[in-house]
């Protein structure tokens, strides 16, 4: 299986995505933006629909369209009057529905809808791999550059602001990175599962780390491990790859929680 080029390119794409998704996911968790990410993920179908209307190939059209959608969401979210989570639910479902309508209108329903919803990692060819790799490098590189400011704002926006961190600009920058990640991840595990690879590995490693950088690094390993095991299961037992990867990551999370509890009980007993 390891010599199968299909398996290898899928593994490479998945591992690249997991590497960018885990540190980004850490900030999603710290900033409590999982629901914002979920709304963006739903909106990727709108990205596909708009791309179709503009006669653009989805893999190239979706990332820039998603950046626009994300900025719009971030702007709308700050408007007073409707609670943020309610507004995000409205935006998520509104854009999913509109995306589906546009797809039907453009004749795109005949496109592989299940592929959009649950990912089509095996369909990622050489050219796509370059795009995925390039976008992941952009996301990861930006995170490294913005790390200190983002971390300070995640701990306390108020203190960060007083200490001269450009909090508002960073918030916008983060939303753009999240939009790019969701656009990439949709190809890999699908729009319904993309947030799993951002959030689950981070939650998995929480009990075992003492610092934010260690948490991001450990989450990268957990994410890549889930991608590898998920893909292996998918090839071995002919399972859908995206759901297999997400399922493995959730199972790893469950085991890590049990392990942490067991360890806690063991050290607690020793005291």
């Amino acid at each position: 299986m390891l010599s199968d080029p299909l398996f290898l390119s899928a593994l490479l794409a998945g591992a690249l995505f997991a590497t960018a998704a885990a540190p980004l996911g850490a900030f999603v968790v710290w900033r409590r933006m999982a629901y914002f990410g979920e709304a963006l993920a739903h909106a990727t179908l709108l990205g596909v629909g708009v791309g179709l209307m503009l006669h653009l190939a989805p893999q190239t059209a979706v990332p820039p369209i998603m950046v626009g959608v994300a900025l719009l969401f971030a702007l709308l979210e700050r408007q007073a009057g409707v609670p943020a989570d309610t507004l995000l639910a409205i935006l998520a479902h509104g854009s999913l529905a509109l995306g589906m309508v546009l797809l039907a209108w453009g004749g795109g329903v005949r496109l592989d809808l299940v592929g959009w919803l649950f990912g089509d990692i095996l369909a990622i060819g050489e050219r796509d791999l370059l795009l995925v790799g390039g976008l992941c490098a952009v996301v990861l590189g930006s995170l490294v550059v913005l790390w200190r400011g983002l971390l300070s704002a995640a701990a306390s926006e108020e203190l960060a602001l007083i200490e001269g961190v450009p909090v508002a600009a960073l918030r916008t920058g983060f939303v753009v990175l999240l939009a790019l990640a969701v656009a990439i991840g949709m190809r890999i595990v699908g729009l319904l599962l993309v947030m799993a690879l951002l959030v689950v590995p981070v939650a998995t490693v929480r009990p075992f780390v003492r610092g934010p950088e260690a948490m991001a690094a450990a989450a990268v390993l957990a994410g890549i491990g889930s991608v590898f095991c998920g893909l292996w299961l998918a090839f071995r037992f002919d399972l859908p790859a995206g759901p297999a990867i997400a399922l493995v990551s959730v199972l790893v999370f469950g085991s890590s929680q049990l392990l942490a509890r067991f360890r806690g009980a063991a050290t607690g007993g020793a005291r």
Binding site: W30, A155, E158, L159, G211, A214
Partner: protein
């Protein structure tokens, strides 16, 4: 300076000066706009009318009333300090020593006690060598012993660093023992002056209850200092 938030007047015609080397305490009932005033002074909220003037190059250090680190954000006390900027390790250690937390450097922030966390916030504010130190309710969630130690630390910092200190507190005891000037706020300034004079002010008595103030009287006399300040009525 005045501030409106969502159509409500939060602060009305407030005028406040904090000078270098002086401890000013802001007191007032809940909802008096104490924290809003602090946020305006810090530049987080723009005033609706009026302005905030600072001497050029003034560095402000701020320890907020509330800050809860996300349970999923693992962080040691020293790492938390380092969020304030690019400081050499030796300065981080020195800041922790200054507030008596040198042994807690590698402990998780969420495992610190209320008093230790207050001191960590103070250390982060001190790291920037502030000319003005703003401490919002520094005694909240701290036991009595810790409160006295913290008040002594604040007085010591003023002596050593010669910075201005603005304390926000509702605790009369600590206010009256520690500060040079007390500003009583209830959306408008109701009285300003030396701790002893403010305590005797009818407006102050109205807010805090005569009984509470009288109970403090012996304490006040021990600490009240006969110095320059005049007692202004607004």
């Amino acid at each position: 300076m005045s501030l409106r938030l969502g159509g409500t007047v939060v602060l009305d015609g407030v005028d406040l000066v904090v000078r270098r080397g002086e401890i000013v305490t802001l007191i007032g009932p809940n909802g008096a706009g104490k924290t809003s005033l602090v946020r305006v002074l810090l530049g987080i909220l723009p005033p609706t009318t009026g302005e905030v003037r600072r001497a050029p190059d003034v560095v402000v250090g701020y320890a907020p009333q509330r800050l809860e680190l996300d349970p999923f954000l693992p962080m040691t006390a020293r790492r938390f300090l380092a969020l304030a900027g690019r400081f050499p390790k030796i300065r981080l250690v020195a800041a922790l020593r200054e507030v008596g937390l040198e042994d807690a450097a590698e402990r998780q922030v969420r495992a610190l006690s209320g008093g230790e966390f207050r001191r960590l916030l103070l250390a982060r504010a001190l790291l920037r060598d502030p000319d003005l130190l703003v401490l919002d309710e520094p005694f909240a969630g701290v036991d009595v012993e810790g409160q006295a130690a913290f008040a002594a630390l604040v007085a010591e910092l003023r002596r050593r660093r010669r910075c201005g200190i603005l304390l926000v507190s509702h605790d009369l005891h600590l206010v009256l023992s520690a500060s040079d000037r007390v500003v009583c706020l209830d959306r408008r300034l109701c009285c300003v002056g030396r701790p002893l004079d403010v305590a005797a002010d009818p407006a102050f008595r109205r807010f805090f209850g005569a009984a509470a103030v009288d109970a403090l009287a012996p304490f006040v006399h021990r600490h009240g200092r006969p110095d320059r300040e005049e007692n202004e009525r607004c």
